[in-house]
Structure formats: structure tokens, C-alpha cells
């Protein structure tokens, strides 16, 4: 299963390295969202700074939708999905591989956005919150990548998948937005929050990540059967 996962993840990442869709399209889009928030919320009043954590993760979620569309789209083109089924790879491994490749791209995105909010929103990271923030990013990414891969497979091949996917995916990841935002606020100390307040939220994110990874391992093979 892990070998299958590594093969599929390697393939997706290699496609990305050659096509640069995430680097050239999704990343600039995410930065654009950061700018749009500044236009919507008056940057001089400190609103941006106090809302940094939430805005960061909203930008991640919006980019996630694009990332999932891209990831699922790779299998839709040129009969790649059938080829993947014919390849005899373990379906659970295929799920892990696709989720892993998506997670790697999300982590890069989060790193860039993290620097983005420090520069643009004057977010002030503190040393005591670094560990919390890094763990939050990791756990959140696992949850988002698993959910995204699963819903991407669900909507794959449908005529209106591009409009359907955000509607299906975003309500599901709402708990992730809540948890990641609170944990990040604790890491940044927004509103005088203590770092220790963030860890229970990481627990919530962990439960979500586990639940959706488990669902994906069970369901992905069955979802791949008919396209």
C-alpha cells in the first residue's frame, strides 16, 4: 500500500514539477486573496491584524478547492483514471498517494501564505507559538488533503464538478477552519490568547484528519470503480 502511495504521489508531484500549475496559478491566486481581504477590511484600523488567523485559513481553503480540482483533473484527462485502475495499485495506496501529493503542495502554499501575512498584515509571530503553529499546519494539512482527495474522487467525471465541488467540500471543512483559526490565534497571541489555548483545537483537527483519512482509505477504491 505504501509503495503504491509513493508511486502515485511521485507521479502527481512530477506532473506538478513539469506543469507548474500550483506554483504559477494557485499560489498567485492565494496571494491575490490576501490582497482582496486588505481591500475589504480597512488595513489601517488593525482589523487585518486581528483577523489574520482566520483570513490565512480562508485563503488556504479557497486555494484547496483549486488544488483538489487540479488533482482530480489529472486523472480525468487522457483516461488516466482507467489506467490507474488497470495498474493494479492498491486503491487505499492511490488515495494516500494523491492525498500526500496534495498535502505537500498545501504545505508549500501555507508557508508562502504564512510569510505573506507576516509581511502584508503585520502579523507578529512569537517564539513560543512557533511549535503550535507548525503542528497546526501539519495536522490541518492532513485533514484538508484527505477530505479534498475524497471529495475530488466523488465529484470526478461529473459534468458540473467544478461548481459542485466547492459546495460539497467547504461545509465539510468548516470545522477545520474553526479549529485552525483558533489554534493559529493562540500561536500568534491574537487578543491576548495564551499558546496553551491552542492545543485542544489541534486535538479537534487531529480527530477530523483521522476520521477523513480512515473514510478515504475505505471509500476511495469503491469510488474509483465507476467513473
Amino acid at each position: 500500500m505504501l509503495r503504491s502511495a509513493a508511486l502515485v504521489a511521485g507521479k502527481d508531484l512530477r506532473v506538478e514539477l513539469r506543469s507548474r500549475v500550483t506554483t504559477n496559478q494557485v499560489l498567485p491566486f492565494a496571494l491575490l486573496v490576501l490582497l482582496l481581504f486588505a481591500f475589504a477590511l480597512d488595513p489601517d484600523r488593525g482589523t487585518l491584524r486581528s483577523a489574520t488567523a482566520g483570513l490565512l485559513w480562508v485563503a488556504v481553503l479557497l486555494s484547496l478547492v483549486l488544488g483538489v480540482q487540479r488533482s482530480a483533473g489529472l486523472e480525468a484527462a487522457d483516461g488516466a483514471r482507467d489506467a490507474l485502475r488497470l495498474s493494479g495499485l492498491d486503491p487505499a495506496g492511490v488515495f494516500l498517494g494523491k492525498a500526500g501529493a496534495l498535502a505537500a503542495q498545501l504545505l508549500v502554499l501555507e508557508a508562502v501564505l504564512g510569510i505573506g501575512v507576516v509581511v502584508l498584515y503585520d502579523a507578529d509571530p512569537r517564539a513560543s507559538g512557533v511549535a503550535l503553529f507548525v503542528v497546526t499546519c501539519l495536522v490541518t494539512t492532513v485533514g484538508l488533503a484527505a477530505t479534498g482527495t475524497l471529495y475530488g474522487a466523488l465529484a470526478a467525471g461529473l459534468e458540473s464538478r467544478d461548481t459542485l465541488l466547492p459546495l460539497l467540500l467547504l461545509p465539510v471543512v468548516a470545522p477545520v477552519l474553526i479549529g485552525a483559526t483558533r489554534a493559529t490565534e493562540a500561536a500568534l497571541g491574537t487578543g491576548g490568547a495564551a499558546t496553551s489555548e491552542g492545543w485542544p483545537w489541534v486535538g479537534l483537527l487531529g480527530v477530523f484528519a483521522l476520521a477523513y483519512t480512515a473514510l478515504g482509505l475505505v471509500a476511495h477504491g469503491s469510488l474509483m470503480e465507476e467513473a
Binding site: L158, E159, L164, L168, P171, A219, L223
Partner: protein, 253 residues
């Protein structure tokens, strides 16, 4: 000849059920609007509760049935399109009544609190649940092939029911950590007749649910049959009329 034997979704059982639902609804109207007293604090606004609470109950019941139908479809031994249709029909009714619960709740809030919406944990998670199942219904409409649709929708039904408690808890936690409830909850002794009216409401709405579910499920059978045979039947009919003969002889004549 391909058309199903029946074109009606009514049977003796559903007629009896429908009549019972009507009687209960009339009973509910009598109790909710006339026989029950107005509330000391909320006045007549309390009567909204007799629609609101049964709607919310139905929403949960309906989504629970959707989850059961989805799981039953996925389990190979019970796999049948009937389960898929029950899941779909139930979700439609669930979305309808979740919407009704949100609307009646907002109206009640406007009268009692002065605003339509508050970021109360239960309101917020209900709104999310509403959107979750709106997405489920939208999903069901996109795939024309019943078998493919049934399988994917069943998985989506299972995913949705897994996420509902997570949404519920996270929103709850979010609101309780960040803001004390804005309104002190009074817990007055609920009046006996009020409680009874509420009970009538729950029974009446449950009967309406069962009636709607049965009809909708049968309608979906007819819809699928019509989608499968509709074109063939139409062509056969046209050919029988002689308007479009397959070999073009009508033109020569």
C-alpha cells in the same frame, strides 16, 4: 409497454396515512393557535414553537434515515436502488424541514430577541447542516446513471453523517469558548397543555414525513423508469402514428 403498471404513487396505505396526517395537522392547528395559552414572557410568539420544534425534529429524523439508506445501499447484501431512493427522498424532506426550522427560528428570534440571526451554536451548526445536504441533493442531480449515482450518493450520505457531529461539536466549542450566551436561558415550567401541543406537532409532522417519503420514493421509481424508457416509448409512439416510418415508405406513398 415499457411503462410501469402503475402511474399513481398512492395506495390504500398512503391514503390512510395521509388522512391521519391531515387529522393530526388539524388537531395541531387547534391546539397551537387556539387551545394552548400564550406565554407569559413571549406572548403569542411562543406558538411558532409548535412548528419550529417538530420541523427541527423532522430534519434530524430525515437525515438519520438518509444515513441508514446510504449505509444499506453500500452494504452488499442489502444493496438495492430502493434504499438509494429512500435516502434521496428523505434528504429532500430533511432539507425542506431544516429550512423551515431556520425560517421559523429566525422569525421567532426577530420577535423575541429583536434580530433574525445570532451566531448561536445551534443556529450556526443547523445552517451548516442545511448547506451540507443542499450539496448532497445537488450532487444527486448531476449523475444521470442511477447505479453510479446511487453508489456515490451513498458514500456522500455516509460522509455527511460523519461530519455532522464534528461540525456540531466544533461550532459548539467555538461559541462557548468565545462568547457567553447572550441570552440567559429561562427555564420556566413548561405548561402541560403547551407540552401536549408540542407532542401533537411532533406526531403530525412525523406522519407528514412518512407520507411524503413514501410518495416521493415511488415518484423516483417512476422518474427512473421514465428516464430509462421514455425515449424508446416516444419513438415507438411516433412510429405507430406513421409520422416517422423507419424505412421512409410514407414519403413514397
Amino acid at each position: 409497454m415499457n411503462t410501469p403498471a402503475t402511474t399513481s404513487t398512492g395506495t390504500r396505505a398512503t391514503r390512510v396515512l395521509g388522512a391521519a396526517a391531515l387529522v393530526c395537522l388539524a388537531w395541531l392547528v387547534a391546539f397551537a393557535l387556539f387551545l394552548s395559552p400564550e406565554d407569559e414572557v413571549q406572548g403569542d410568539a411562543v406558538r411558532i414553537m409548535y412548528v419550529h420544534v417538530p420541523s427541527a425534529w423532522l430534519a434530524y429524523l430525515a437525515f438519520f434515515v438518509t444515513a441508514i439508506g446510504s449505509a444499506a445501499y453500500l452494504w452488499k447484501r442489502t444493496r438495492s436502488l430502493t434504499w438509494d431512493r429512500i435516502a434521496g427522498a428523505s434528504a429532500e424532506i430533511g432539507v425542506l424541514f431544516t429550512g423551515l426550522a431556520l425560517v421559523t427560528g429566525s422569525l421567532w428570534g426577530r420577535i423575541t430577541w429583536g434580530y433574525f440571526w445570532t451566531w448561536d451554536a445551534r443556529l450556526t451548526s443547523t445552517a451548516l447542516m442545511f448547506l451540507l445536504y443542499v450539496g448532497y441533493l445537488a450532487f444527486r442531480r448531476t449523475e444521470p446513471n442511477p447505479e453510479v449515482r446511487a453508489k456515490r450518493a451513498a458514500w456522500l450520505g455516509v460522509f455527511s453523517v460523519v461530519v455532522v457531529p464534528i461540525v456540531h461539536n466544533s461550532v459548539n466549542w467555538w461559541r462557548t469558548l468565545h462568547q457567553e450566551p447572550t441570552l440567559l436561558r429561562r427555564d420556566p415550567e413548561i405548561d402541560g397543555i403547551m407540552l401536549f401541543s408540542l407532542f401533537v406537532g411532533v406526531v403530525a409532522f412525523t406522519l407528514v414525513y412518512a407520507w411524503l417519503l413514501l410518495h416521493r420514493q415511488r415518484l423516483l421509481v417512476l422518474e427512473d423508469a421514465s428516464a430509462a424508457h421514455g425515449l424508446e416509448d416516444a419513438i415507438a409512439e411516433r412510429n405507430a402514428e406513421g409520422a416517422l416510418p423507419a424505412d421512409g415508405t410514407a414519403v413514397a406513398r
